[in-house]
């Protein structure tokens, strides 16, 4: 049994992150860090993870050139990293599966998870079905309505979906409830957090399990084009696909961009753009850029995409943003919808609403002089069909 952390718990000049957890969860978090470190040093675990990523998840995912979209936007080349083609349809499975394997190794029999868009919930449900773990997913009632297909998928995989009616019924409330549930069952349950958020070691662990995206993409783009792109871009909710794609490019001289949800306005409550709208604060166990009111209460958020509709930017990505290593931009609901439509029409790919926020920024990047861009297509848009139908009038 360990009683302290061995890995760095803080990020960047502002020392973001940390472990602001209730005492009940401290020992489980120490134990989790120790198990994570041991697993990373165990060739058998790494081999099993690699095998599952290959044969169950479908890795490596393709890097697809998108020449028609590039031409339309005035880019010389555009490459899409196709996390939408993973099993269950988003990057979330990379982390969910790895943590489920870790939980089994720790002797945990139950899994708890939160979900916003439902992609992390579906990924966790699938991993649990495959590994024979029982699973409960907490999901806000607003998100259950707007991502209904994913609720059905989780249930088919034998997962119990617990509706969370508090507050706005979105991701923040789902995380609250999952943390509460974990405090009650931490003796037998592991909490699979779905983004690079929460108390240490979650942000580090989730990022570690997601960097496979950028590692593959970097090798693929070099192989296909003989050079690195001038810009790498991804959307950012908590920041797991963003870090996963961008971290392997940190040593390269290129633009790294993360796109937040600009929602439908600039006022607090109308968006989920934490860099412009947020101040440093503590939510869900970490210190980071947080949308909050003048009382230190968490602000409401708004986004057409459930997966970006969260008041805090993950602490490591916030650290990179404040230290100038990653540019954080925003795209509005309307811009994301237009970005999605353009990809559909030019390349025959239906993106998730979350990923569409990165697509929405491409014309601005082209105008700013970008020529070759690598974009993280974090998920597929089937879950968003009803939103696309109603908002695009099709």
């Amino acid at each position: 049994m360990t009683d302290s952390f061995a890995l760095p718990t803080r990020f960047g000049a502002q020392q973001l992150g940390g472990c602001y957890a209730p005492e009940t969860l401290m020992q489980p978090l120490f134990d989790l860090e120790a198990a994570f470190r041991a697993a990373l040093g165990d060739p058998a675990f790494l081999a099993e993870l690699k095998g599952e990523l290959r044969h169950f998840v479908g890795r490596p995912t393709p890097l697809t050139p998108a020449p028609r979209l590039a031409a339309k936007l005035g880019l010389r080349a555009l490459f899409l990293k196709r996390e939408d083609l993973t099993h269950t349809g988003a990057h979330k499975i990379n982390n969910a599966l790895a943590q489920a394997l870790l939980a089994r190794r720790m002797g945990k029999t139950e899994i708890i998870a939160e979900t916003g868009a439902g992609q992390h919930g579906v990924a966790t449900a699938a991993a649990c079905a495959r590994l024979g773990l029982s699973c409960t997913v907490y999901m806000g009632v607003t998100d259950m309505a707007r991502q209904a297909p994913n609720v059905a998928r989780m249930r088919l995989f034998g997962t119990k979906v617990e509706p969370v009616a508090a507050g706005q019924g979105t991701l923040k409330e789902a995380v609250n409830e999952a943390l509460r549930a974990w405090a009650g069952r931490c003796d037998r349950a592991h909490y699979i957090l779905g983004s690079a958020l929460g108390p240490h070691p979650f942000p580090t662990m989730v990022r570690t399990f997601q960097t496979v995206i950028g590692e593959e993409a970097r090798a693929q783009v070099l192989e296909q084009s003989g050079a690195l792109p001038d810009t790498v871009i991804a959307c950012a909710g908590g920041g797991s696909n963003g870090l996963g794609l961008l971290v392997p490019f940190l040593g390269d001289g290129l633009r790294r961009v993360a796109v937040e949800a600009g929602g439908h306005g600039k006022a607090l409550g109308e968006h989920a753009a934490r860099l412009d709208g947020g101040r440093l604060g503590v939510l869900h166990g970490c210190k980071t850029l947080l949308l909050q009111d003048e009382h230190g209460h968490t602000a409401e958020t708004a986004s057409i995409s459930a997966g970006l509709d969260y008041p805090a930017l993950g602490p490591e990505l916030a650290g990179f943003a404040l230290d100038g290593q990653v540019e954080v931009r925003r795209a509005s609901d309307e811009e994301a919808l237009a970005g999605a439509r353009l990809l559909c029409e030019t390349e025959g790919i239906l993106p998730a609403l979350e990923s569409s926020h990165a697509l929405a920024l491409l014309s601005a990047l082209a105008a700013e002089g970008a020529a070759t861009v690598l974009l993280g297509l974090s998920g597929r848009g089937d879950k968003d069909l009803s939103t696309y139908q109603s908002r695009l009038g099709i």
């Binding site: 049994m1 209730p22 509460r180 009650g184 604060g281 939510l283």
Partner: protein
């Protein structure tokens, strides 16, 4: 020994009612009371205290208004301000000390602040007379308990209960859902902790009936009653009516 440590949510039912509730508690002979500062995201609270916090916030009980409502109150037990870190962090230690000075607040219980995460903030407040209450959970190994008690030290036997006690979380989970908490493990735990420290211990999370309160007292510890009290107040009962049977 302090017979009972009640918990109230500031601003529930209203901030106007707070002075009277506090003087009522004092009249019952209580040394100390935990006062919840309502937070938007109470991750360690069960449904009863979540609902109370949201009622209070909807009623305008912002952190500053709560502290203003406490300013100048003398007819009150010593208060332990029970809250989450972010509202306090946003106020900042320097301003917080000034706001607390005219209030009966004697200590802070910050649910999501383990020792070592905000050392300067914590040291500043402790030096000003606002120590952080050490929390000991069922998952806390005894070695860590020893460390927590050392990091958040006993100011000494002449200090009031509110500044000395350690809070023993009786079971896994969040506040208020302890239907029929099995007290045998709690008794063993309290005995183990009493071997580590001579500080007063308060035992909380899910205690409600007079029998379990009395059982905690036989362990030589102070029972905390929170959700049950908040619920009964919300149902329109009076403070004395609710607490008196548990004090016998």
């Amino acid at each position: 020994m302090n017979p009972l440590l009640p918990f109230l949510m500031a601003g529930d039912p209203s901030l106007e009612a707070l002075p009277q509730l506090l003087s009522g508690a004092k009249a019952l002979g209580l040394d100390a009371l935990e006062l919840g500062l309502p937070h938007s995201d109470p991750i360690a609270d069960g449904p009863v205290l979540q609902a109370a916090a949201h009622r209070a916030i909807d009623g305008g009980a912002t952190p500053l208004r709560v502290l203003e409502a406490l300013a100048g109150l003398t007819d009150s037990p010593d208060l332990v301000l029970f809250t989450y870190l972010n509202p306090l962090l946003q106020i900042g230690a320097a301003r917080l000390k000034k706001l607390l000075a005219p209030t009966p607040v004697r200590a802070l219980l910050v649910v999501d602040l383990p020792f070592g995460e905000e050392p300067a903030f914590e040291a500043d407040l402790r030096a000003a007379g606002y120590p952080m209450v050490p929390l000991l959970a069922p998952t806390t190994p005894l070695d860590r308990a020893r460390q927590i008690l050392a990091e958040r030290p006993d100011p000494g036997a002449s200090a009031p209960f509110a500044q000395r006690f350690a809070y023993v979380v009786a079971r896994l989970g969040v506040t208020g859902t302890g239907q029929g908490t099995d007290l045998a493990p709690v008794r063993r735990r309290v005995t183990d902790l009493q071997a580590l420290t001579t500080r007063p211990l308060a035992v909380g999370f899910g205690l409600s009936d007079a029998a379990s309160l009395a059982a905690v007292r036989t362990m030589g510890a102070t029972p905390v009653v929170g959700s049950a009290l908040v619920q009964a107040l919300a149902n329109g009962k009076g403070l004395g009516e609710i607490l008196a049977p548990g004090l016998r």
